[in-house]
């Protein structure tokens, strides 16, 4: 018998989790107190906080422990939500009086290590449940939004100074993604059906697979040439905003990229329709049109939706490269941040982007789930 004796697995895990938490809290600095954006200041350890923020931190931890016990079954998820809320929220809650005016708290090694430690049990969930992870992430988002005003946490300081810009780039990001996905969808619907049925459709499909191997960045660059050429030839197009740089080539490149997952979802979906079902439909007297809408479309929908999800998530991520050709979007903060070696600025782009992709993933998964539930059957082997 091992050192854990007859302890149940969940309590074993909870204990390892707690010991790890304690070690990280004691050994690594959580924050750094910087006088301004450029100058690096002194490290702040958890033990320093117990001294100065005393009551608040202890109370918070006690309350967290009570929660862990109360929700024993969901402990990792509750601890994660609580931990993330604390890390992101506490500075806003009590830090204002303690951090001198104009100074900021930057996240340090312990801050990020705790994220990994708190989220790992949820990522490694043996039952492959996704809801604990989502509970933690959305709890975190709410926490961030609730405690950000006046918080000395450096990311929030950055956010406050860039609020309007952030909003503008978020809108631009959504516009780029939305437009390119709409264009791609319009093209992919007929092309995907053709890819499943005709020889030339198969060629288009192979071609889009080939394009997928061109790095996104290179594609953006390559598109500049023909588009700027077009704009030179037709001044009216230029007047509408078409040029080698800016939104037009970005939308074009993103749409081309989204084409493959969309097309392959449609193609695989249609190919997954059993031939005997198709034959029965024809034999019973469904017209080709009815066969398509009543049999092929509903039966291929699960794979089509899976393709859509891949396309959307991938598209939102790819759009982060758009600033490189002057098309803006959340990538702006990432590239600015890298240029100024400001991690806070990078995070300002990365965190909203992460929320967008995760949100899209959840919504589309829900849609897929509702679909297969309505059909009342699990697709065997797909």
């Amino acid at each position: 018998m091992g050192p854990w004796g007859g302890m149940p697995g969940s309590w074993k895990r909870a204990t390892i989790l707690a010991i790890g938490l304690g070690l990280i809290l004691i050994l690594f600095p959580l924050y750094r107190l910087d006088p301004n954006r450029v100058v690096r200041g002194t490290a702040v350890f958890f033990l320093d906080l117990v001294g100065s923020w005393g009551l608040a931190a202890v109370g918070f931890l006690t309350w967290g422990a009570v929660l862990v016990l109360a929700f024993g079954f969901a402990a990792p998820a509750v601890v994660a939500v609580w931990g993330l809320l604390g890390l992101w929220g506490l500075p806003g809650l009590v830090g204002q009086q303690l951090v001198p005016m104009g100074m900021r708290l930057s996240p340090e090694l312990g801050f990020w290590a705790l994220h990994i430690w708190l989220l790992l049990p949820l990522l490694l969930d043996e039952r492959r449940r996704r809801w604990p992870l989502h509970l933690a992430l959305w709890g975190f988002v709410l926490g961030v939004l609730a405690f950000q005003s006046g918080s000395p946490l450096s990311i929030f300081v950055e956010l406050r100074s860039q609020q309007n810009r952030l909003l503008a780039e978020l809108v631009q990001h959504l516009l780029l993604s939305g437009t390119s996905l709409a264009v791609a969808l319009l093209l992919a619907l007929p092309l995907g059906v053709a890819a499943a049925r005709t020889i030339w459709g198969g060629w288009v499909y192979s071609l889009s697979g080939l394009i997928q191997t061109v790095p996104t960045l290179a594609l953006l660059g390559l598109l500049m040439v023909p588009l700027s050429g077009l704009a030179r030839l037709f001044p009216t197009l230029r007047a509408w905003g078409l040029s080698g740089i800016g939104s037009a080539p970005a939308v074009a490149a993103l749409a081309i990229y989204a084409l493959l997952p969309l097309m392959s979802g449609i193609r695989e979906g249609l190919r997954a329709v059993p031939p005997q079902v198709r034959e029965a439909a024809r034999g019973l007297g469904l017209s080709e049109w009815q066969l398509f809408w009543k049999v092929e479309v509903p039966l291929s929908l699960p794979l089509v939706l899976a393709g859509l999800r891949t396309a959307v998530v991938q598209n939102l991520g790819n759009a982060a490269l758009a600033p490189l050709i002057g098309a803006g979007g959340l990538g702006y903060f990432i590239f600015q941040g890298i240029g100024q070696t400001s991690a806070d600025m990078v995070l300002l782009g990365v965190l909203p982007l992460l929320m967008l992709t995760l949100g899209a993933d959840v919504l589309l998964r829900l849609l897929e789930g509702a679909q297969s539930e309505r059909r009342g059957h699990v697709r065997a082997g797909l």
Binding site: P274, Q276, A280, G283, L284, G285, L286, H377
Partner: protein, 363 residues
Amino acid sequence: MSELVFEQVHYTYGSIPAITDLSFSVERGEFVVLIGPSGCGKTTTLKLVNRLLEPTRGRILLRGQDLSTFDPVALRRSMGYVIQDVGLFPHWRVEDNIAAVPRLLKWPRERIRDRVREMLALVGLDPEAYRRKFPHQLSGGEAQRVGIARALAADPPLLLMDEPFGALDPLQRARHQRFLRAIQAKVRKTVLMVTHDLDEAILLADRMLVMNQGRAVQFDSPEAILRSPNNAFVRRFVGTDRSLKRLIRLPVTCCMAAVHPLRLGSDSLEDNGRVWGWVVDEQDRFVGWINFEDTERERWHDAVTPLSWEECATPETNLKDALSMMLALGLKHLPVLDDLGRLVGELNLPTIESLLREDSLES
């Protein structure tokens, strides 16, 4: 006028001939079975009838009119089609599958609902238990029955069935064959059925079309084909036990002998010249048999050897099955019981043997 006529029909897949010079005609209400080795063109023939395929050469007439003049979609809605692999729509419930053609024909909603129930009951599935199920919740046999119900739903005068019992084990198969015969007795249709099971063909067919390599080899009643196969292929195909196979067509009632059983409680054992006798109870229900020799006259009740229900024939049992029962059980006489378990007659081994002898004399 014949319901369906094939006139020198050819069909080639690309350059591979599948049907060559096929001519035959089917009368209204006739049950025709297409039979032949795998790949001989049975499925192709059915698909030519509902125009999933068009003849490369020759023509097909439906009620005297050239098939190519019909609208293919409307034509298919007027024919029931049971495909080889069942092919139920996996995303529709059983009721929606059965309602497929009536909906295409825009029947009123209540009529469709009633029809679905009627069809489920017809194929022996409880409507309330099966209506709302999805195909993946059905066993192979149930799915095939739903496939048959779907084909019959719009009451088509012509029914095309491609190995409708292919996925079933022999026991289920026999049950479904009986049940298909019962349906056919109730709703008389013109049926074109494909099978590769000779016994099934002999049992069900009014006429059998024996095919080989895309050609019709013989088209006649099962009796005629078994009695006089018209060439070496058919002779080989029907096998050396063809006189035995003829018995499939004959119900036990055709050579059943009358019986005078002893009745428990009332009859006393008297000498009737026989050495044994059947025994029934006061309600005429079959009990077993008794050996008269070395049985005390007063206590004959105790000497009855009971026979179970499985050791008896019913009036629907065919002679071949009855014969195999007799051989398996080592009986020279087989009691025949009706639905209520009453003894209606007996079958004697010598009678069957003389039938078989007549057969072999003829051929």
